[in-house]
């Protein structure tokens, strides 16, 4: 009797599991298909694309579109390829991510461990910045950048992204540090450690997971940003803007294979960050909710 029920339970379990895997596989295919199309077509000569099936593998494999997208394609009026813009993006994203993450960590530390009168109001205002639509700030931001003399430069873009990112990073670190025992900070105070020493020696060493979350979030947002880049980039436009210029240049034939290669180049860094740090990302998002 109980044996029969058990075997039914096992077989229903197996059926459910198969179903779940099928659905998951379907979703994976759904998301991977566009990427497949991009990779395949970036490795074909142009006539194969215009003449035939987008879905088929290349008949003659070539990396020419990649080289072209990287170093010689027409971006706007200059035949520079995406290379200089890639560099711009890199020069922008590294300081922007580092500064906003660092500020977020310090903010979170102060807001949880050095509470002061009105700290919740400050946190609320910082949170508010997460919900302000980008378009609203374009004109005031342009004025401020102009006054500071960093309009149209990489430092200007870095500033914009730091200002926009700090609300999110503060939120992450504040929630993470809220679960960090205050007794540890008190113990360190009695031991004679000061404000920065406690942060540096006690909190930061255990902030790995949330730092990964913050870095991934900021990196993806800053790298993928188009609006600020297009508005304030000036002579130092980031990769996203350059890609747009490459794809939508109106002269000559549309070189789809070069466009695909360029698009992948533009997405590569974020992809890399996810692959390297992705599993810490999930772990970091879960931390705090389940205290280990």
């Amino acid at each position: 009797m109980s044996g029969a029920t058990q075997s039914t339970a096992v077989s229903t379990g197996r059926i459910t599991r198969t179903l779940i895997y099928l659905v998951l596989l379907l979703f994976a295919l759904f998301y991977l298909l566009p990427f497949f199309v991009m990779v395949v077509n970036s490795l074909k000569p142009l006539d194969e694309i215009t003449g035939g099936n987008m879905m088929s593998l290349p008949q003659t494999w070539t990396i020419q579109p990649w080289l072209q997208a990287w170093s010689s394609a027409q971006i706007g009026v200059e035949p520079t390829g995406l290379r200089p813009y890639f560099l711009n993006s890199l020069l922008m994203v590294v300081p922007a991510v580092a500064i906003s993450t660092g500020l977020g960590a310090i903010n979170g530390y102060v807001l949880t461990k050095w509470r002061f009168r009105g700290d919740n109001i400050i946190f609320g205002l910082l949170l508010f910045s997460c919900f302000i639509p980008f378009q609203i700030v374009l004109i005031p931001m342009a004025t401020i950048l102009g006054k500071l003399g960093i309009a149209g430069s990489i430092p200007g873009l870095v500033l914009v992204h730091v200002v926009y990112g700090v609300g999110f990073t503060t939120l992450y670190y504040r929630n993470y540090y809220a679960a960090f025992p205050t007794e540890l900070v008190r113990a360190a105070m009695i031991d004679g450690a000061g404000f920065f020493r406690i942060f540096w020696r006690i909190l930061l060493p255990v902030s790995g997971p949330i730092t990964v979350v913050s870095v991934i979030w900021q990196f993806t947002n800053v790298w993928n940003d188009f609006l600020f880049g297009a508005s304030f980039g000036g002579q130092s436009q980031p990769m996203t803007v350059a890609l747009n210029n490459l794809v939508s240049s109106s002269t000559g034939v549309k070189e789809y294979n070069v466009h695909f290669a360029g698009a992948i180049l533009a997405a590569l860094p974020t992809l890399l960050v996810y692959i390297v740090a992705g599993r810490y990302f999930v772990r970091g998002l879960m931390a705090g909710s389940v205290k280990g």
Binding site: E183, M189, I190, I202, P205
Partner: protein
């Protein structure tokens, strides 16, 4: 002027005062235990000594130096927290010497202090482990070691044993007591466990609702509790509080009460001054061990009274048998020798050690001084 002086200290959060005019002087080498129910302000007082909470009113001084407003690290104190508060990213050794490092002590001296304390607490083999790789008892020892290496003037403990299981708690209690006997350090120790308070301390401050109810040696607190709160909080099972009247009989004051069968019982007081209370109501305080079988009664006592009363429940507990019955309309617990035979429902002849009995004023709930 003591070693650690808490004079007239109050603490308020906004408008609510949570500590009211606390006055405690601690001598060098004393083991003071702050005990009381949850929320009575023990931790708050300890944190004020540590400098982790501001002092609203009054002064706290250590070695004659007023500590109000002095940073925790400059008070020469060390604290052991309930959660141990070990730095998770540092090894045991680094945890223990972090304070010395922050105070600029050179490495060779730090290592020397570490070796000494590690040997004292048998932590030698664990120095390279992280706190996460230790058992609860080991973490507890590391937390104490971290306090010890600093050689502070005063040690502060906030419920250091409450995260341990029952057996380990008893073992660590003994270890702390041994350590204190060996090092003769000054300790202020917070607990809500009255047994810990009685066994460890040289003096106890019993607190309730932000007031120090009584400050005294364990014996004073146990034998002559200042009021009903202290009487019932300290000791387990709690002291029996029985409504009674005072009457003169054969020229001596007696407590008159009714037993479960409705008969009147008279118990002679040892305290002569109970004469002043003749004709008035009192509350008679009797510890369970003062209410026992005749063979188990204290032979040194000059005043053992007989009391016959029906037994409601008998609970053998290994070393003793506890008997519950009604006396003066209240539930009362008596403590008999383990192999006494009692049958619930029948009457039993108890011996009452009236030398240990105390009386309380029902109005003020204070003990009537002998």
């Amino acid at each position: 002027m003591g070693f650690l002086d808490i004079s007239n200290v109050t603490k308020s959060y906004g408008k609510t005062e949570v500590l009211h005019r606390v006055d405690i002087g601690v001598e060098e080498g004393e083991f003071l235990v702050l005990v009381g129910p949850s929320g009575c302000g023990k931790s708050t007082l300890l944190n004020m000594i540590a400098g982790l909470e501001d002092i609203t009113g009054g002064d706290i001084s250590i070695r004659g130096r007023v500590m109000n407003g002095v940073h925790p690290s400059k008070r020469n104190i060390a604290m052991v927290f309930q959660s141990y508060a070990l730095y998770p990213n540092m090894t045991v050794g680094q945890n223990m010497t972090f304070g010395l490092e922050m105070h600029g002590v050179p490495k060779p001296e730090r290592d020397k202090a570490l070796t000494e304390v590690a040997a004292l607490l048998q932590l030698d083999k664990l120095l390279d482990r992280k706190p996460g790789q230790l058992s609860g008892g080991q973490r507890q020892r590391v937390a104490m070691g971290r306090a010890l290496v600093r050689e502070p003037d005063v040690f502060l403990f906030d419920e250091p044993l409450s995260n341990l299981d029952a057996k380990l708690r008893v073992d660590m209690r003994t270890e702390i007591k041994k350590l204190h006997a060996k090092l003769k350090t000054t300790i202020v120790y917070v607990t809500h466990d009255q047994i810990e308070a009685l066994t460890l301390s040289t003096r106890i401050a019993v607190m309730n609702d932000g007031y120090v109810q009584q400050l005294g040696t364990p014996k004073e607190v146990y034998d002559t509790p200042a009021n009903i709160f202290v009487a019932t909080f300290m000791g387990s099972p709690a002291m029996n509080i029985i409504p009674a009247q005072v009457a003169m009989q054969d020229g001596a004051p007696h407590a008159v009460l009714t037993n479960a069968a409705g008969e009147t019982v008279q118990l002679r007081f040892s305290q002569e001054n109970m004469v002043d209370w003749v004709g008035r109501d009192i509350l008679l305080g009797l510890r369970p061990e003062a209410l026992t079988d005749p063979e188990g009664a204290d032979r040194k006592s000059q005043n053992i009274a007989a009391l016959s009363n029906p037994v409601a429940v008998a609970e053998p507990a290994g070393s003793d048998t506890f008997v519950t019955m009604t006396l003066g309309g209240r539930d009362v617990i008596a403590r008999l020798r383990a192999d006494t035979s009692v049958t619930p429902g029948t009457s039993f002849d108890f011996a009452v050690n009236m030398e240990k009995a105390v009386a309380f004023d029902p109005e003020t709930e204070r003990r009537i001084p002998a």
